[in-house]
Amino acid sequence: MAINRNFRTCPTTGLVFHEQGEKLIRWNAVAGVVSLLVGGVLALLVILTRWPAVHLLPADWFYLALTAHGLDMLVFWIIFFEIAVLYFCASTLLRCRIAAPRWAWTGFFLMVIGALTNNVAVFRGDSSVMFTSYAPMGAHPAFYLGLILFAVGALIGLFVFLGTLVVAKSEKTYIGSLPLVTFGAVTACIIAVFTIASGAIILIPTFLWSLGLVNSIDSLMYKTVWWAFGHSSQQINVAAHVSIWYLIAAIVFGAKPMSEKVSRGAFLLYIFFLQLASAHHLLADPGLTSNWKIFNTSYAMYLAVLASMVHGLTVPGAIEVAQRQKGYNKGLFEWLRKAPWGNPVFSGMFISLIGFGFLGGISGVMMGTEQLNLIIHNTIYVPGHFHATVVVGTTLAFMSLTYFLIPVLFRRELMFPGLSKWQPYLFGLGMSGFAVFMMGAGTLGVPRRHWDMTFAGNPLGHEFPGAAYLMMGLMALSGLVAIVGGVAYLLITVGSVFFGKKIETPDFKAVTVREGRAAWPARQPVAVAIASHGNIGLGGFVAPGTFTLAMVFLVAFVLYYFVNWKYLSTVWPLS
Protein backbone atom coordinates (compact mmCIF):
# COMPACT_ATOMS: atom_id res chain seq x y z
CA MET A 1 0.00 0.00 0.00
CA ALA A 2 1.31 3.44 -0.91
CA ILE A 3 2.44 5.58 1.98
CA ASN A 4 0.49 8.81 2.38
CA ARG A 5 3.05 11.62 2.14
CA ASN A 6 0.58 14.47 1.78
CA PHE A 7 1.45 17.54 3.82
CA ARG A 8 0.19 21.09 4.11
CA THR A 9 1.94 24.12 5.55
CA CYS A 10 -0.01 26.55 7.71
CA PRO A 11 0.59 29.97 6.10
CA THR A 12 0.38 31.81 9.44
CA THR A 13 2.55 29.64 11.66
CA GLY A 14 4.63 27.63 9.18
CA LEU A 15 3.63 24.43 10.99
CA VAL A 16 3.46 21.37 8.75
CA PHE A 17 0.55 18.95 9.01
CA HIS A 18 0.48 15.42 7.65
CA GLU A 19 -2.93 14.58 6.17
CA GLN A 20 -3.55 11.49 8.28
CA GLY A 21 -1.86 13.04 11.28
CA GLU A 22 -4.12 16.08 11.13
CA LYS A 23 -7.26 13.92 11.05
CA LEU A 24 -6.02 11.85 13.98
CA ILE A 25 -5.17 14.93 16.04
CA ARG A 26 -8.60 16.42 15.28
CA TRP A 27 -10.61 13.32 16.13
CA ASN A 28 -8.72 12.59 19.34
CA ALA A 29 -9.16 16.21 20.44
CA VAL A 30 -12.88 16.11 19.58
CA ALA A 31 -13.38 12.84 21.51
CA GLY A 32 -11.60 14.46 24.44
CA VAL A 33 -13.87 17.51 24.36
CA VAL A 34 -16.99 15.29 24.21
CA SER A 35 -15.73 13.49 27.34
CA LEU A 36 -15.16 16.88 28.95
CA LEU A 37 -18.75 17.85 28.15
CA VAL A 38 -20.16 14.71 29.81
CA GLY A 39 -17.79 15.04 32.76
CA GLY A 40 -18.65 18.72 33.11
CA VAL A 41 -22.41 18.10 33.35
CA LEU A 42 -21.69 15.48 36.02
CA ALA A 43 -19.39 17.94 37.81
CA LEU A 44 -22.30 20.33 38.19
CA LEU A 45 -24.43 17.57 39.75
CA VAL A 46 -21.62 16.59 42.13
CA ILE A 47 -21.02 20.19 43.21
CA LEU A 48 -24.72 20.80 43.83
CA THR A 49 -24.88 17.67 45.97
CA ARG A 50 -21.79 18.35 48.05
CA TRP A 51 -23.01 21.89 48.71
CA PRO A 52 -24.76 21.27 52.04
CA ALA A 53 -27.33 24.03 51.43
CA VAL A 54 -28.52 22.36 48.19
CA HIS A 55 -27.72 18.64 48.55
CA LEU A 56 -29.32 17.90 45.18
CA LEU A 57 -28.99 14.20 44.35
CA PRO A 58 -30.02 11.15 46.37
CA ALA A 59 -27.12 8.97 47.55
CA ASP A 60 -27.22 6.36 44.77
CA TRP A 61 -27.30 8.97 42.01
CA PHE A 62 -24.52 10.94 43.69
CA TYR A 63 -22.15 7.97 43.71
CA LEU A 64 -23.07 7.16 40.11
CA ALA A 65 -22.41 10.76 39.02
CA LEU A 66 -19.14 10.92 40.96
CA THR A 67 -17.91 7.65 39.42
CA ALA A 68 -18.71 8.79 35.87
CA HIS A 69 -17.31 12.29 36.52
CA GLY A 70 -14.00 10.84 37.74
CA LEU A 71 -13.60 8.50 34.79
CA ASP A 72 -14.73 10.92 32.08
CA MET A 73 -12.46 13.66 33.35
CA LEU A 74 -9.41 11.88 34.74
CA VAL A 75 -9.18 9.15 32.11
CA PHE A 76 -11.14 9.82 28.92
CA TRP A 77 -10.89 13.62 28.45
CA ILE A 78 -7.27 13.75 29.47
CA ILE A 79 -5.95 10.73 27.57
CA PHE A 80 -7.84 11.45 24.32
CA PHE A 81 -6.39 14.96 24.36
CA GLU A 82 -2.94 13.68 25.30
CA ILE A 83 -2.89 11.31 22.34
CA ALA A 84 -3.77 14.33 20.16
CA VAL A 85 -0.88 16.26 21.76
CA LEU A 86 1.53 13.34 21.20
CA TYR A 87 0.62 13.11 17.51
CA PHE A 88 1.01 16.89 17.21
CA CYS A 89 4.43 16.81 18.90
CA ALA A 90 5.64 13.93 16.73
CA SER A 91 4.03 14.53 13.35
CA THR A 92 3.63 18.31 13.22
CA LEU A 93 6.65 19.48 15.19
CA LEU A 94 8.95 16.97 13.46
CA ARG A 95 7.23 17.59 10.07
CA CYS A 96 6.87 13.86 9.66
CA ARG A 97 4.21 11.46 8.44
CA ILE A 98 2.35 9.50 11.09
CA ALA A 99 3.72 5.96 11.33
CA ALA A 100 1.10 3.25 10.79
CA PRO A 101 -2.02 5.42 10.51
CA ARG A 102 -4.26 2.33 10.28
CA TRP A 103 -2.99 1.20 13.66
CA ALA A 104 -3.53 4.72 14.98
CA TRP A 105 -7.18 4.60 13.84
CA THR A 106 -7.58 1.13 15.34
CA GLY A 107 -6.29 2.51 18.62
CA PHE A 108 -8.64 5.48 18.42
CA PHE A 109 -11.72 3.33 17.80
CA LEU A 110 -10.75 0.97 20.63
CA MET A 111 -10.51 4.00 22.91
CA VAL A 112 -13.94 5.23 21.80
CA ILE A 113 -15.52 1.79 22.26
CA GLY A 114 -13.82 1.44 25.66
CA ALA A 115 -14.99 4.84 26.86
CA LEU A 116 -18.57 4.15 25.71
CA THR A 117 -18.61 0.67 27.27
CA ASN A 118 -17.35 2.00 30.58
CA ASN A 119 -19.85 4.87 30.60
CA VAL A 120 -22.76 2.55 29.78
CA ALA A 121 -21.70 0.26 32.63
CA VAL A 122 -21.67 3.19 35.06
CA PHE A 123 -24.97 4.71 33.88
CA ARG A 124 -26.68 1.31 34.21
CA GLY A 125 -26.39 1.98 37.93
CA ASP A 126 -24.61 -1.16 39.10
CA SER A 127 -21.03 0.11 38.81
CA SER A 128 -20.92 3.09 41.17
CA VAL A 129 -17.52 2.06 42.47
CA MET A 130 -15.77 5.43 42.05
CA PHE A 131 -12.76 6.12 39.84
CA THR A 132 -10.64 3.89 42.11
CA SER A 133 -13.03 0.88 41.99
CA TYR A 134 -11.33 -0.65 45.04
CA ALA A 135 -11.80 -4.42 45.26
CA PRO A 136 -13.67 -6.16 46.85
CA MET A 137 -16.25 -3.55 45.80
CA GLY A 138 -17.30 -5.02 42.48
CA ALA A 139 -18.58 -3.44 39.29
CA HIS A 140 -20.26 -4.90 36.22
CA PRO A 141 -17.71 -6.72 33.98
CA ALA A 142 -18.35 -4.13 31.24
CA PHE A 143 -16.87 -1.48 33.57
CA TYR A 144 -13.46 -3.21 33.62
CA LEU A 145 -13.72 -4.34 29.99
CA GLY A 146 -14.30 -0.74 28.89
CA LEU A 147 -11.20 0.43 30.75
CA ILE A 148 -9.12 -2.41 29.32
CA LEU A 149 -10.23 -1.67 25.74
CA PHE A 150 -9.51 2.02 26.25
CA ALA A 151 -6.07 1.22 27.66
CA VAL A 152 -5.20 -1.09 24.75
CA GLY A 153 -6.27 1.63 22.29
CA ALA A 154 -4.17 4.23 24.11
CA LEU A 155 -1.18 1.86 24.16
CA ILE A 156 -1.45 1.47 20.38
CA GLY A 157 -1.49 5.27 20.12
CA LEU A 158 1.68 5.50 22.23
CA PHE A 159 3.53 3.05 19.99
CA VAL A 160 2.35 4.92 16.88
CA PHE A 161 3.88 8.03 18.49
CA LEU A 162 7.17 6.19 19.12
CA GLY A 163 7.05 4.78 15.58
CA THR A 164 6.62 8.29 14.22
CA LEU A 165 9.82 9.33 16.02
CA VAL A 166 11.61 6.43 14.30
CA VAL A 167 10.23 7.49 10.90
CA ALA A 168 11.24 11.12 11.52
CA LYS A 169 14.79 10.07 12.39
CA SER A 170 15.14 7.69 9.45
CA GLU A 171 13.69 10.20 6.96
CA LYS A 172 15.78 12.99 8.57
CA THR A 173 12.90 15.40 9.05
CA TYR A 174 14.82 16.80 12.03
CA ILE A 175 18.50 17.13 12.78
CA GLY A 176 20.27 16.47 16.06
CA SER A 177 18.21 16.06 19.23
CA LEU A 178 14.43 16.07 19.41
CA PRO A 179 12.94 19.51 20.04
CA LEU A 180 12.32 20.11 23.76
CA VAL A 181 8.52 20.05 23.40
CA THR A 182 8.69 16.68 21.62
CA PHE A 183 11.10 15.44 24.30
CA GLY A 184 8.48 16.40 26.89
CA ALA A 185 5.95 14.40 24.88
CA VAL A 186 8.36 11.42 24.93
CA THR A 187 8.40 11.76 28.73
CA ALA A 188 4.59 11.71 28.81
CA CYS A 189 4.58 8.67 26.52
CA ILE A 190 7.03 6.73 28.72
CA ILE A 191 5.00 7.44 31.85
CA ALA A 192 1.87 6.43 29.93
CA VAL A 193 3.36 3.06 28.93
CA PHE A 194 4.13 2.29 32.59
CA THR A 195 0.68 3.53 33.60
CA ILE A 196 -1.19 1.36 31.10
CA ALA A 197 0.94 -1.70 31.82
CA SER A 198 0.15 -1.30 35.53
CA GLY A 199 -3.53 -0.91 34.73
CA ALA A 200 -3.44 -4.13 32.72
CA ILE A 201 -1.69 -6.01 35.56
CA ILE A 202 -4.53 -5.24 37.96
CA LEU A 203 -7.61 -4.64 35.80
CA ILE A 204 -7.40 -7.87 33.77
CA PRO A 205 -7.55 -10.13 36.88
CA THR A 206 -10.25 -7.88 38.34
CA PHE A 207 -12.26 -8.26 35.13
CA LEU A 208 -11.87 -12.05 35.40
CA TRP A 209 -12.93 -11.81 39.06
CA SER A 210 -16.06 -9.88 38.03
CA LEU A 211 -16.88 -12.76 35.64
CA GLY A 212 -16.41 -15.30 38.44
CA LEU A 213 -13.30 -16.83 36.86
CA VAL A 214 -10.99 -15.71 39.69
CA ASN A 215 -11.93 -16.37 43.32
CA SER A 216 -10.78 -13.18 45.01
CA ILE A 217 -8.70 -10.06 44.63
CA ASP A 218 -6.52 -9.06 47.58
CA SER A 219 -7.59 -5.53 48.49
CA LEU A 220 -4.13 -4.21 49.44
CA MET A 221 -2.53 -5.79 46.37
CA TYR A 222 -5.26 -4.16 44.27
CA LYS A 223 -4.70 -0.74 45.84
CA THR A 224 -0.93 -0.91 45.46
CA VAL A 225 -0.90 -1.89 41.80
CA TRP A 226 -3.99 0.15 40.90
CA TRP A 227 -2.34 3.37 42.12
CA ALA A 228 0.59 2.72 39.78
CA PHE A 229 -2.11 3.17 37.13
CA GLY A 230 -4.37 5.71 38.88
CA HIS A 231 -1.76 8.21 40.01
CA SER A 232 0.70 7.72 37.17
CA SER A 233 -2.12 8.51 34.74
CA GLN A 234 -2.09 11.96 36.29
CA GLN A 235 1.69 12.14 35.92
CA ILE A 236 1.26 11.76 32.16
CA ASN A 237 -0.70 14.99 32.45
CA VAL A 238 2.12 16.75 34.22
CA ALA A 239 4.65 15.90 31.52
CA ALA A 240 2.09 16.78 28.80
CA HIS A 241 1.04 20.13 30.22
CA VAL A 242 4.62 21.17 31.01
CA SER A 243 5.42 20.46 27.33
CA ILE A 244 2.46 22.65 26.40
CA TRP A 245 3.80 25.46 28.62
CA TYR A 246 7.07 25.39 26.67
CA LEU A 247 5.12 25.20 23.40
CA ILE A 248 2.92 28.19 24.23
CA ALA A 249 5.90 30.23 25.45
CA ALA A 250 7.45 29.61 22.03
CA ILE A 251 4.22 30.27 20.11
CA VAL A 252 3.21 33.50 21.85
CA PHE A 253 6.61 35.05 22.63
CA GLY A 254 9.08 33.17 20.46
CA ALA A 255 10.67 32.25 23.80
CA LYS A 256 13.49 29.73 23.92
CA PRO A 257 14.20 27.74 27.11
CA MET A 258 16.77 29.46 29.33
CA SER A 259 18.78 26.25 29.27
CA GLU A 260 17.70 23.31 27.15
CA LYS A 261 20.07 21.04 29.08
CA VAL A 262 18.47 21.93 32.40
CA SER A 263 14.95 21.52 31.00
CA ARG A 264 15.79 18.15 29.46
CA GLY A 265 17.44 17.12 32.73
CA ALA A 266 14.21 18.00 34.52
CA PHE A 267 12.19 15.83 32.12
CA LEU A 268 14.70 13.04 32.76
CA LEU A 269 13.98 13.33 36.50
CA TYR A 270 10.29 12.88 35.63
CA ILE A 271 11.10 9.70 33.68
CA PHE A 272 13.09 8.28 36.60
CA PHE A 273 11.04 9.33 39.59
CA LEU A 274 7.63 10.83 38.88
CA GLN A 275 5.64 7.58 38.84
CA LEU A 276 6.93 6.61 42.30
CA ALA A 277 4.79 9.33 43.89
CA SER A 278 1.84 6.93 43.52
CA ALA A 279 2.91 5.62 46.93
CA HIS A 280 1.46 8.62 48.74
CA HIS A 281 -2.00 7.09 48.32
CA LEU A 282 -0.88 4.20 50.54
CA LEU A 283 0.79 6.20 53.30
CA ALA A 284 -2.00 5.34 55.76
CA ASP A 285 -2.13 1.62 54.87
CA PRO A 286 -0.53 -0.62 57.50
CA GLY A 287 0.53 -3.45 55.16
CA LEU A 288 3.47 -1.62 53.62
CA THR A 289 6.64 -0.68 55.48
CA SER A 290 7.86 2.84 56.13
CA ASN A 291 10.97 2.01 54.07
CA TRP A 292 8.83 1.53 50.95
CA LYS A 293 6.62 4.51 51.72
CA ILE A 294 9.37 6.95 52.59
CA PHE A 295 11.69 5.94 49.75
CA ASN A 296 8.95 6.29 47.15
CA THR A 297 7.50 9.54 48.47
CA SER A 298 9.89 11.51 50.62
CA TYR A 299 13.04 10.71 48.63
CA ALA A 300 12.20 9.82 45.04
CA MET A 301 9.18 12.10 44.83
CA TYR A 302 11.23 15.14 45.87
CA LEU A 303 13.45 14.65 42.81
CA ALA A 304 10.34 14.81 40.64
CA VAL A 305 9.21 17.89 42.58
CA LEU A 306 12.62 19.43 41.91
CA ALA A 307 11.98 18.84 38.21
CA SER A 308 8.60 20.60 38.41
CA MET A 309 10.22 23.55 40.16
CA VAL A 310 12.83 23.71 37.39
CA HIS A 311 10.08 23.84 34.76
CA GLY A 312 8.12 26.34 36.84
CA LEU A 313 11.21 28.56 36.83
CA THR A 314 12.43 28.09 33.28
CA VAL A 315 9.11 28.62 31.47
CA PRO A 316 8.36 32.09 32.94
CA GLY A 317 12.09 32.78 32.81
CA ALA A 318 12.13 32.11 29.07
CA ILE A 319 9.07 34.36 28.63
CA GLU A 320 10.75 37.10 30.69
CA VAL A 321 13.93 36.95 28.62
CA ALA A 322 11.93 37.08 25.38
CA GLN A 323 9.87 40.02 26.61
CA ARG A 324 12.94 41.94 27.85
CA GLN A 325 14.64 41.41 24.50
CA LYS A 326 11.58 43.01 22.89
CA GLY A 327 12.14 46.11 25.04
CA TYR A 328 9.95 45.41 28.09
CA ASN A 329 13.00 45.70 30.29
CA LYS A 330 11.96 48.15 33.00
CA GLY A 331 11.90 47.10 36.65
CA LEU A 332 11.04 43.65 37.87
CA PHE A 333 7.71 43.02 36.22
CA GLU A 334 7.19 45.19 33.13
CA TRP A 335 7.63 42.02 31.04
CA LEU A 336 4.70 40.47 32.89
CA ARG A 337 2.48 43.58 32.94
CA LYS A 338 2.92 44.01 29.19
CA ALA A 339 2.24 40.35 28.45
CA PRO A 340 -0.83 39.68 26.22
CA TRP A 341 -3.30 39.06 29.04
CA GLY A 342 -6.19 39.32 26.58
CA ASN A 343 -4.87 36.38 24.57
CA PRO A 344 -6.43 33.21 26.06
CA VAL A 345 -3.53 31.10 24.78
CA PHE A 346 -1.18 32.99 27.09
CA SER A 347 -3.48 33.87 30.01
CA GLY A 348 -4.73 30.29 30.36
CA MET A 349 -1.22 28.89 30.22
CA PHE A 350 0.10 31.35 32.83
CA ILE A 351 -2.79 30.75 35.26
CA SER A 352 -2.21 27.01 34.73
CA LEU A 353 1.48 27.43 35.61
CA ILE A 354 0.88 29.52 38.73
CA GLY A 355 -2.04 27.41 39.95
CA PHE A 356 -0.21 24.15 39.37
CA GLY A 357 2.88 25.34 41.24
CA PHE A 358 1.42 27.28 44.15
CA LEU A 359 -1.71 25.20 44.83
CA GLY A 360 -1.10 21.76 43.36
CA GLY A 361 2.66 21.54 43.88
CA ILE A 362 2.91 22.76 47.46
CA SER A 363 -0.12 20.75 48.63
CA GLY A 364 1.26 17.67 46.84
CA VAL A 365 4.55 17.81 48.72
CA MET A 366 2.68 18.24 52.00
CA MET A 367 0.48 15.22 51.22
CA GLY A 368 3.49 13.15 50.22
CA THR A 369 5.06 13.51 53.68
CA GLU A 370 4.10 10.43 55.67
CA GLN A 371 3.41 12.18 58.97
CA LEU A 372 1.59 15.18 57.50
CA ASN A 373 -0.49 12.92 55.28
CA LEU A 374 -2.30 11.71 58.41
CA ILE A 375 -3.91 15.14 58.84
CA ILE A 376 -5.72 15.04 55.54
CA HIS A 377 -5.76 11.42 54.36
CA ASN A 378 -9.08 10.61 52.65
CA THR A 379 -10.47 14.06 53.38
CA ILE A 380 -11.78 16.43 50.71
CA TYR A 381 -8.30 18.01 50.81
CA VAL A 382 -7.18 15.27 48.40
CA PRO A 383 -9.59 16.20 45.56
CA GLY A 384 -8.69 19.83 46.37
CA HIS A 385 -5.07 19.00 45.57
CA PHE A 386 -5.78 17.13 42.36
CA HIS A 387 -8.25 19.69 41.06
CA ALA A 388 -5.36 22.16 41.40
CA THR A 389 -2.99 19.90 39.48
CA VAL A 390 -5.22 18.17 36.93
CA VAL A 391 -7.84 20.85 36.35
CA VAL A 392 -6.07 24.17 36.92
CA GLY A 393 -2.76 22.71 35.71
CA THR A 394 -3.58 20.25 32.93
CA THR A 395 -7.11 21.05 31.76
CA LEU A 396 -6.49 24.78 31.59
CA ALA A 397 -3.22 24.22 29.68
CA PHE A 398 -5.11 21.99 27.22
CA MET A 399 -7.84 24.64 26.90
CA SER A 400 -5.22 27.31 26.14
CA LEU A 401 -3.70 25.15 23.44
CA THR A 402 -7.15 24.65 21.88
CA TYR A 403 -7.42 28.38 21.18
CA PHE A 404 -4.22 28.09 19.17
CA LEU A 405 -5.30 24.91 17.41
CA ILE A 406 -8.75 26.04 16.23
CA PRO A 407 -7.43 28.38 13.50
CA VAL A 408 -4.25 26.39 12.82
CA LEU A 409 -5.50 22.79 12.91
CA PHE A 410 -9.26 23.07 12.34
CA ARG A 411 -8.83 26.06 9.99
CA ARG A 412 -11.74 27.95 11.52
CA GLU A 413 -11.93 31.45 12.96
CA LEU A 414 -12.55 31.61 16.68
CA MET A 415 -16.16 32.40 17.55
CA PHE A 416 -17.01 34.65 20.52
CA PRO A 417 -13.53 36.25 20.74
CA GLY A 418 -14.68 38.55 23.57
CA LEU A 419 -15.84 35.61 25.66
CA SER A 420 -12.65 33.69 24.90
CA LYS A 421 -10.63 36.48 26.58
CA TRP A 422 -12.52 35.95 29.83
CA GLN A 423 -12.82 32.19 29.72
CA PRO A 424 -9.38 31.32 31.22
CA TYR A 425 -10.00 33.74 34.11
CA LEU A 426 -13.47 32.35 34.85
CA PHE A 427 -12.30 28.77 34.67
CA GLY A 428 -8.84 29.19 36.18
CA LEU A 429 -9.73 31.46 39.06
CA GLY A 430 -13.03 29.65 39.76
CA MET A 431 -11.25 26.33 39.86
CA SER A 432 -8.40 27.75 41.99
CA GLY A 433 -10.97 28.94 44.56
CA PHE A 434 -12.69 25.55 44.32
CA ALA A 435 -9.42 23.75 45.10
CA VAL A 436 -8.44 26.11 47.93
CA PHE A 437 -11.82 25.83 49.69
CA MET A 438 -11.79 22.05 49.28
CA MET A 439 -8.38 21.97 50.92
CA GLY A 440 -9.68 24.25 53.70
CA ALA A 441 -12.65 21.96 54.36
CA GLY A 442 -10.36 18.91 54.22
CA THR A 443 -8.06 20.43 56.81
CA LEU A 444 -11.12 20.64 59.06
CA GLY A 445 -11.73 16.94 58.46
CA VAL A 446 -14.57 16.92 55.90
CA PRO A 447 -14.37 13.52 54.17
CA ARG A 448 -13.95 13.11 50.44
CA ARG A 449 -16.58 11.32 48.36
CA HIS A 450 -19.15 11.31 51.16
CA TRP A 451 -22.71 12.07 50.10
CA ASP A 452 -23.73 13.87 53.29
CA MET A 453 -21.27 15.66 55.57
CA THR A 454 -23.98 16.08 58.23
CA PHE A 455 -24.18 12.27 58.62
CA ALA A 456 -27.92 12.73 59.19
CA GLY A 457 -29.58 9.60 60.51
CA ASN A 458 -26.30 7.82 61.20
CA PRO A 459 -25.82 6.22 64.63
CA LEU A 460 -22.23 7.52 64.82
CA GLY A 461 -22.68 11.10 63.63
CA HIS A 462 -20.11 13.85 63.70
CA GLU A 463 -20.68 17.58 63.97
CA PHE A 464 -18.28 19.64 61.87
CA PRO A 465 -17.55 23.25 62.88
CA GLY A 466 -19.43 26.05 61.11
CA ALA A 467 -16.24 26.97 59.23
CA ALA A 468 -16.37 23.61 57.45
CA TYR A 469 -19.86 24.39 56.14
CA LEU A 470 -18.67 27.84 55.09
CA MET A 471 -15.77 26.26 53.19
CA MET A 472 -18.09 23.81 51.44
CA GLY A 473 -20.43 26.63 50.44
CA LEU A 474 -17.57 28.73 49.09
CA MET A 475 -16.23 25.65 47.31
CA ALA A 476 -19.59 25.21 45.57
CA LEU A 477 -19.83 28.88 44.56
CA SER A 478 -16.27 28.81 43.16
CA GLY A 479 -17.10 25.56 41.39
CA LEU A 480 -20.10 27.20 39.74
CA VAL A 481 -17.87 30.01 38.46
CA ALA A 482 -15.54 27.35 37.02
CA ILE A 483 -18.54 25.57 35.46
CA VAL A 484 -19.49 28.84 33.73
CA GLY A 485 -15.89 28.99 32.43
CA GLY A 486 -16.16 25.38 31.27
CA VAL A 487 -19.46 26.05 29.46
CA ALA A 488 -17.84 29.08 27.81
CA TYR A 489 -14.95 26.88 26.62
CA LEU A 490 -17.30 24.29 25.15
CA LEU A 491 -19.42 26.98 23.51
CA ILE A 492 -16.38 28.62 21.92
CA THR A 493 -14.66 25.43 20.79
CA VAL A 494 -17.69 23.47 19.57
CA GLY A 495 -19.17 26.62 17.98
CA SER A 496 -15.89 27.48 16.23
CA VAL A 497 -15.17 23.95 14.99
CA PHE A 498 -18.66 23.38 13.56
CA PHE A 499 -19.90 26.88 12.74
CA GLY A 500 -16.80 29.09 12.67
CA LYS A 501 -15.86 30.92 9.48
CA LYS A 502 -13.57 28.76 7.35
CA ILE A 503 -9.98 29.89 6.89
CA GLU A 504 -8.83 29.14 3.36
CA THR A 505 -5.30 27.73 3.32
CA PRO A 506 -3.22 25.90 0.72
CA ASP A 507 -4.31 22.26 0.58
CA PHE A 508 -2.29 19.08 1.03
CA LYS A 509 0.44 18.27 -1.47
CA ALA A 510 2.59 15.21 -1.87
CA VAL A 511 6.12 15.66 -0.49
CA THR A 512 8.98 13.26 -1.26
CA VAL A 513 11.30 12.05 1.47
CA ARG A 514 14.13 14.18 0.11
CA GLU A 515 11.98 17.31 0.02
CA GLY A 516 10.87 16.68 3.58
CA ARG A 517 14.38 16.59 5.02
CA ALA A 518 15.23 19.23 7.56
CA ALA A 519 17.65 21.97 6.68
CA TRP A 520 20.81 22.31 8.74
CA PRO A 521 20.51 25.35 10.98
CA ALA A 522 22.76 28.25 10.11
CA ARG A 523 25.70 28.62 12.46
CA GLN A 524 25.41 31.66 14.71
CA PRO A 525 28.36 34.01 14.63
CA VAL A 526 30.38 33.88 17.86
CA ALA A 527 29.57 37.53 18.51
CA VAL A 528 25.85 36.74 18.74
CA ALA A 529 26.41 34.09 21.37
CA ILE A 530 28.67 36.35 23.42
CA ALA A 531 26.33 39.32 23.24
CA SER A 532 23.09 37.42 23.88
CA HIS A 533 21.22 38.48 27.03
CA GLY A 534 23.92 41.12 27.52
CA ASN A 535 21.73 44.19 27.70
CA ILE A 536 18.69 42.94 29.54
CA GLY A 537 17.79 42.18 33.13
CA LEU A 538 18.50 43.82 36.42
CA GLY A 539 21.29 43.61 38.97
CA GLY A 540 23.17 40.97 37.03
CA PHE A 541 20.09 38.74 36.67
CA VAL A 542 18.79 38.00 33.19
CA ALA A 543 15.34 37.19 34.56
CA PRO A 544 15.05 38.99 37.91
CA GLY A 545 11.23 38.98 37.89
CA THR A 546 11.13 35.20 37.61
CA PHE A 547 13.78 34.94 40.33
CA THR A 548 11.57 37.08 42.59
CA LEU A 549 8.53 34.90 41.82
CA ALA A 550 10.62 31.83 42.61
CA MET A 551 11.58 33.32 45.99
CA VAL A 552 7.91 34.09 46.76
CA PHE A 553 7.11 30.49 45.87
CA LEU A 554 9.90 29.20 48.10
CA VAL A 555 8.72 31.28 51.09
CA ALA A 556 5.11 30.12 50.55
CA PHE A 557 6.32 26.53 50.29
CA VAL A 558 8.40 26.65 53.49
CA LEU A 559 5.70 28.46 55.49
CA TYR A 560 2.94 26.09 54.41
CA TYR A 561 5.08 23.05 55.10
CA PHE A 562 5.95 24.14 58.63
CA VAL A 563 2.44 25.38 59.41
CA ASN A 564 1.27 21.84 58.72
CA TRP A 565 3.83 20.35 61.09
CA LYS A 566 2.56 22.76 63.73
CA TYR A 567 -0.99 21.74 62.89
CA LEU A 568 -0.06 18.06 63.16
CA SER A 569 1.25 18.67 66.68
CA THR A 570 -2.13 20.08 67.72
CA VAL A 571 -4.31 17.33 66.26
CA TRP A 572 -2.09 14.52 67.49
CA PRO A 573 -1.08 15.37 71.07
CA LEU A 574 1.62 13.10 72.42
CA SER A 575 1.61 14.16 76.07
Binding site: M221, A228, F272, V511
Partner: protein
Protein backbone atom coordinates in the same frame (compact mmCIF):
# COMPACT_ATOMS: atom_id res chain seq x y z
CA UNK B 1 7.98 22.82 -2.67
CA UNK B 2 7.89 25.28 0.18
CA UNK B 3 7.66 22.73 2.92
CA UNK B 4 11.38 22.46 3.70
CA UNK B 5 14.79 23.15 2.35
CA UNK B 6 16.56 19.88 1.54
CA UNK B 7 19.57 19.41 3.76
CA UNK B 8 23.04 18.94 2.38
CA UNK B 9 24.11 15.33 2.49
CA UNK B 10 25.64 15.63 5.91
CA UNK B 11 25.33 12.92 8.49
CA UNK B 12 25.92 12.62 12.24
CA UNK B 13 29.33 11.18 11.36
CA UNK B 14 30.30 14.55 9.93
CA UNK B 15 30.18 16.20 13.33
CA UNK B 16 33.57 17.22 14.65
CA UNK B 17 33.11 16.12 18.26
CA UNK B 18 31.82 12.86 19.73
CA UNK B 19 28.30 13.02 21.21
CA UNK B 20 28.45 13.05 25.06
CA UNK B 21 27.05 9.98 26.82
CA UNK B 22 24.31 11.99 28.53
CA UNK B 23 23.11 13.37 25.22
CA UNK B 24 23.15 9.89 23.73
CA UNK B 25 20.89 8.79 26.58
CA UNK B 26 18.54 11.74 26.07
CA UNK B 27 18.45 11.11 22.32
CA UNK B 28 17.45 7.46 22.69
CA UNK B 29 13.71 7.29 23.46
CA UNK B 30 13.70 3.49 23.64
CA UNK B 31 16.47 3.37 26.25
CA UNK B 32 14.57 6.04 28.19
CA UNK B 33 11.42 3.94 27.81
CA UNK B 34 13.21 0.92 29.28
CA UNK B 35 14.56 2.90 32.23
CA UNK B 36 11.28 4.76 32.76
CA UNK B 37 9.33 1.50 32.96
CA UNK B 38 11.94 -0.57 34.82
CA UNK B 39 12.56 1.89 37.68
CA UNK B 40 8.98 2.23 38.97
CA UNK B 41 8.33 -1.44 38.25
CA UNK B 42 11.17 -2.45 40.57
CA UNK B 43 10.98 0.32 43.19
CA UNK B 44 7.21 0.65 43.43
CA UNK B 45 5.44 -2.48 42.14
CA UNK B 46 7.85 -5.37 42.79
CA UNK B 47 9.11 -4.01 46.12
CA UNK B 48 5.52 -3.20 47.20
CA UNK B 49 4.14 -6.59 46.12
CA UNK B 50 6.99 -8.40 47.91
CA UNK B 51 6.12 -6.57 51.12
CA UNK B 52 2.44 -7.50 50.80
CA UNK B 53 3.24 -11.13 50.02
CA UNK B 54 5.50 -11.19 53.10
CA UNK B 55 2.67 -10.24 55.49
CA UNK B 56 2.00 -13.28 57.72
CA UNK B 57 -1.45 -14.81 57.23
CA UNK B 58 -3.67 -14.69 60.33
CA UNK B 59 -4.34 -18.08 61.92
Amino acid sequence: MSIATPSPDLDDDDLDEPIPAMQQLLDNPFLLLFIGVAMPTVLYIIWGVMEIVGIPIAK
